[in-house]
Symmetry: C2
Subunit: 361 residues, 2 copies
DNA sequence: AACTGCTATGACACCGATGTCATGACTTCG
DNA sequence: CGAAGTCATGACATCGGTGTCATAGCAGTT
């Protein structure tokens, strides 16, 4: 691989002059510049980042760890591979800023993390970003020293800078939209309460009811999914039957995620009910393969994974520049409601006017 | 950040001795080693890869480009984000071999590729891997010089080393299993024939029929999905009706992907037919969110993305070691059939014994 | 003519590790 | 006891760029 010395010799100039052509940090004569550029092209010269970094101490690399960190090793129900979107968001911002991403996947073994961090530090990454596959608390065995760290889709006990989805706000917005379109009996089939997101969304659900002065009915909020092997779907079936048996059954059923909604479609129809004429259904995640493919298409909330990634990248870049941003703890990012035909409006007037950034498709 | 000189001073030895402790390439006295190790721990010393690379010229980095390269800019129907699995496969192998992956996503703009490749070359990657999001032909504006290149899920006209899924074999295996379980009237709803995969799978479908001495009936193979905006699902509906109207309607329907199978479930039921009692359904992709969530669970074929990634990584490592492997052109990787209850056996005997690595779940 | 100011260029040290070679202490063997 | 061999260690050059400083050439000013 050619070096500046080779280029310098070919162009009959000093190495330093070649360096100047490369960086444009000092004036270079027009003829000289041309000679150098020709030589570089002929030799197929590409500057070595390693050598450059030796002096500048700026590697241009950002370390990204995905997977792992999970305290539960059980793989979650697939919910659209949020990590991927987060990573894309990060990548997009980083590429624009000229940084290069170096990525390590732990493959679910959080024990590998320290090793990966070490490798990143060897490459002198300018920042470290951890991405979790679902909203959770992590404890990270950093050893990262003074390297800036940003957590995404997770948070820790030490108040490390973190970007998390605003589950509460998302559920709040969804339920508020349901109320606006005339629903009052709103069932909510939750995921495993052990998950961080479940609790937050429950809060959002209740807050939306309260804001609309609709009394909370515990019989309408039922856990319908466990993160355990022996949940064969029976929970959801029983949950459905229990709310259908109520004196005042719900007019709309919210699901903890779109996959649950997919199952629910089948169950509701096997009970002889129509969607949305007899009962409306809403999901969570905007897992498009499901939400747009189902008939009728599913009203659901999008978790803003791409935006979270972008935000995390911006913050990391800010930390590199030394702005520090004082970002103590978590920043929550809300996401839009996607309004589709699985929910029917009960009030004749379309007084539904969302101010929450909802989209209608 | 501490250097070996700092460590050397702290341990009262020469820098070279610290280097020896790090690399173990020469004997070091026990007491000296201990002193050095203590000093390293105290200073939080992490060796600089850049400096190391200056001498060894081995960066330990592998460049990975995803997205882009696609000749069609239209995003495909989501089929389970194969790139992610491929990347995971690559990552897994690379991590085991001590290499670090650096990743760039083109975000769909193949124009960015040369720029990304340049960045990678600056980092002196030891190999370059391109991953496409679906099986396709690409033309890559390399400029990669003598850096080893491996294509995954795509191939080019120049015969660059490439790892692609064995679509033909996969479809062949699936249809063969269907035949073994007693089906003879096998419909096949294909994807857009403009896709490389579609043609290959058609060949597999026909080859399997021929191998079983079942006459090919053109009325059973119908295009049911176009990669265009105005395909509202009507194609599939008409395809279904056309085969149901045949004198000898099919006993099983194969779909071009699992998403199509999801739609087909709905359509079949709206015609008053039961799955699998009246008609069996098979998919393609083993897109688990769909295949395992549907009722009944979907028989489908898995495209071996993880394995493809692993294989690609192995080959790239081989090329780095200079084994060159003579791998002219493409290597095709087959994937297993996942046998689930959406397909019923027509022959009473369970003479079904797959030798194709099928799994039964 | 002497001085100032600017442009264009080169010499040289340096970043942090490692390869090469040299050296001193100690063991082993004839 | 001296020669040869092993062990442990250090001095120094080197990798490929960039920062610092010096210098030569030339125009403009007084």
């Amino acid at each position: 691989m050619a070096t500046i010395y080779d280029v310098a010799k070919a162009a009959s100039v000093s190495p330093k002059t070649v360096s100047r052509v490369l960086n444009g940090d000092a004036p270079v004569g027009r003829k000289t510049r041309k000679a150098v550029e020709t030589a570089m092209a002929e030799l197929g010269y590409v500057p070595s980042n390693a050598a450059r970094m030796m002096r500048s101490n700026r590697s241009g690399l950002i370390g990204l760890v995905t997977g792992a960190l999970s305290q539960k090793l059980e793989p979650m129900e697939p919910t659209g591979l949020p990590d991927l979107y987060i990573v894309q968001g990060i990548q997009r911002v980083m590429a624009d800023s000229g940084k290069t991403l170096i990525i390590a996947d732990t493959g679910g073994t959080s024990a590998k993390v320290p090793q990966l961090v070490r490798t990143f530090l060897q490459h002198r990454v300018e920042a470290l970003i951890y991405v979790a596959d679902y909203h959770q608390q992590v404890t990270l065995d950093t050893g990262a020293g003074n390297c800036p760290v940003v957590l995404v889709n997770c948070f820790d006990a030490d108040g490390t800078t973190a970007i998390v989805p605003d589950d509460e706000r998302c559920q709040f917005d969804l339920v508020t939209d349901l109320v606006r379109s005339g629903h009052e009996r709103i069932a909510y089939f939750t995921l495993d309460p052990a998950m961080v997101a479940t609790e937050l969304r429950s809060k959002g659900y209740r807050a939306a009811l309260e804001a609309a002065a609709i009394p909370y009915d515990g019989a309408l909020e039922v856990m319908a999914r466990r993160n355990v092997e022996n949940d064969d779907g029976g929970l959801l079936q029983r949950a459905l039957d229990s709310v259908l048996a109520l004196d005042r059954p719900p007019t709309v059923m919210c699901c903890g995620n779109d996959e649950m909604a997919l199952r629910l479609y089948g169950l509701i129809r096997s009970r002889g009910l129509r969607i949305p004429e007899d009962v409306s259904v809403a999901g969570f995640d905007n897992y498009r393969v499901i939400a747009e493919t189902l008939y009728p298409p599913l009203t659901t909330v999008e978790l803003p994974y791409l935006a979270m990634g972008q935000r995390a990248a911006e913050i990391a870049l800010g930390m590199i520049k030394g702005e520090d941003e004082q970002l103590a703890g978590s920043e929550m990012v809300p996401g839009p409601v996607h309004w589709r035909s699985s929910v029917t409006a009960l009030n004749s007037v379309t007084k539904l006017r969302s101010n929450t950034g909802s989209t209608f498709s």
